[in-house]
Point group: C2
Chain length 319, copies 2
Amino acid sequence: MATQKSIADKLGLSISLVSRVLSGKAKEIGVAEETIKKVLDEAKRTNYTPNSAALSLRGVKTHTLGVITYDFEDPYFGIILGELHKIAKQRKFTLILAGSYQRDEDTLDLSAFAKHNIEGLIIVGSDRKKDWYENFNQKSIPSVQIGFTTDKIGANICLDESLSANLIASYLHKQKTESATLFFNHSLSHETFKTQHIKALTENGINILEDVICDGSISSVKSGIKQLKQLPDVIIAGDDIMATKIIRSLHELNIKVPEDVKVFGFDNISHARNFIPSLTTLNPPIKEMIQTAFDLVSSPSISKETLRFTPELISRESA
Amino acid sequence: MATQKSIADKLGLSISLVSRVLSGKAKEIGVAEETIKKVLDEAKRTNYTPNSAALSLRGVKTHTLGVITYDFEDPYFGIILGELHKIAKQRKFTLILAGSYQRDEDTLDLSAFAKHNIEGLIIVGSDRKKDWYENFNQKSIPSVQIGFTTDKIGANICLDESLSANLIASYLHKQKTESATLFFNHSLSHETFKTQHIKALTENGINILEDVICDGSISSVKSGIKQLKQLPDVIIAGDDIMATKIIRSLHELNIKVPEDVKVFGFDNISHARNFIPSLTTLNPPIKEMIQTAFDLVSSPSISKETLRFTPELISRESA
DNA sequence: CTGTTAGCGCATTCAA
DNA sequence: TTGAATGCGCTAACAG
């Protein structure tokens, strides 16, 4: 591997001179044009890459961001990661899968942070209180969470929950919908939205028949459907995947969507358009959200603000 | 931050002694029990974490693996990453998103490799010839690819394509299927399987009516369906997502699945069970594959073998 | 059983 | 305009 020393030796110069040239401080300090050129040429010829271990040991910025997530199976995770990676590449950042805090464990492995000198943290997904907050907070690393949280440790990017609920409620209102049933799970994002849905639906004169809580499994959804006392005009699901399972359960019980019941989703997963019936849902401006998240976390002076984004209603067959 | 020096100073010991204890070589060398305890206690108290920049500068193993992918939108990507991360955590490895080689660019950003001293590379997804091979190969880093490739640079984990095709063909044969139409795209994995499908179907006396090539878009699938000269007994799709789009297109044309045509998928995406009709497909043993991949890439003596796994046929409604 | 020293690759201060 | 020396945190060879 080419090092500054190998270049210096070859050219009969001192290491410090080579260092100045290579770190771009040559002009500023006043190095001879010719010397600069020699060093640069030799560096190129030998394929010199600065050793980041040495840099980071010296306290130079590592341009490394940590990504942690709650749920690798989130249908959006791949897309979010792809977007993050695209921006990271442009800006010469490296992304590290710094850890995850799974449902069952409540811990986060922070060793990767220390190990690679992470400069910022991007949290993908919604969550509640973070037990690892304390450890983490010791090293004041800027962070952004993409999703809802009850325990903000840095900046926060999320959807405007009130606006989202209003979008849906007024859409349903225009369709002369009179009654609704809610299907949500216990996740924070579901609960956040549910509160807003109840408010918005009520304001739009839509009667909430029932409020079903179920985990995401198809069996739990199906039994939720079976136990319905009355079929509403519309079922509002916490997300598209749940909507999908609801429609599937209804199908198995021979209830037609949207003829007998309408179903409203949330997320606009890639699949939503091809489902039968295609899903009416809310489409979050993912790219803008990610872009903003990256800007926030990589900016030198990060604020702890919460930025809310507005989704777009996609009207399709299911509602 | 706690360093060995800070511990040594506090305890009035030498740095090297602290180093020996902390790197677990104390016993071996013969350090006083009491000293060991003192150091360990102080390390714990001050939350000591070894600085990896320093370690890697000294040439100590970094326990860092790079992950690159072809396609972040692959529905399996999140799951694969989750599995990889779980194993990595157990074994104290760190995962870096080392780069991606997108369809449009044909390049790989290798700076992350150099930057973090990556010890192994995991390639997620199928691909063809790698143009970055040459750069990469200079530093002989062990690598594993999970997926098909024409240009093996290390170990290779994939499905047994011949066996998979036979599984499907004999299943269809038992159902008295007589004719089939193929829907595949230009990706390597599709093409690999298609060849095997043609062979296996023919051997099972199933007549291949047409062989449609289309990119994944719903419009291209739909126009492919419209242009069909004749409706076969079964349509075999390159993957579940394509199967989904095929069924959707058939639905829009008022053709019933499986009554009028059967549709066979591939992958068993999480969605397959809830689709209407639920997808009959092949389920790859993802966890075992990932586990094996990790074992291979993190083992000191990696072989360049290709390991083939057998999927399981999941019979549901669509075929 | 423990301490001293050197050096990994680099940026920087001080000196020339 | 250039070079020598220092130190970031750590391990290992060598010396007590």
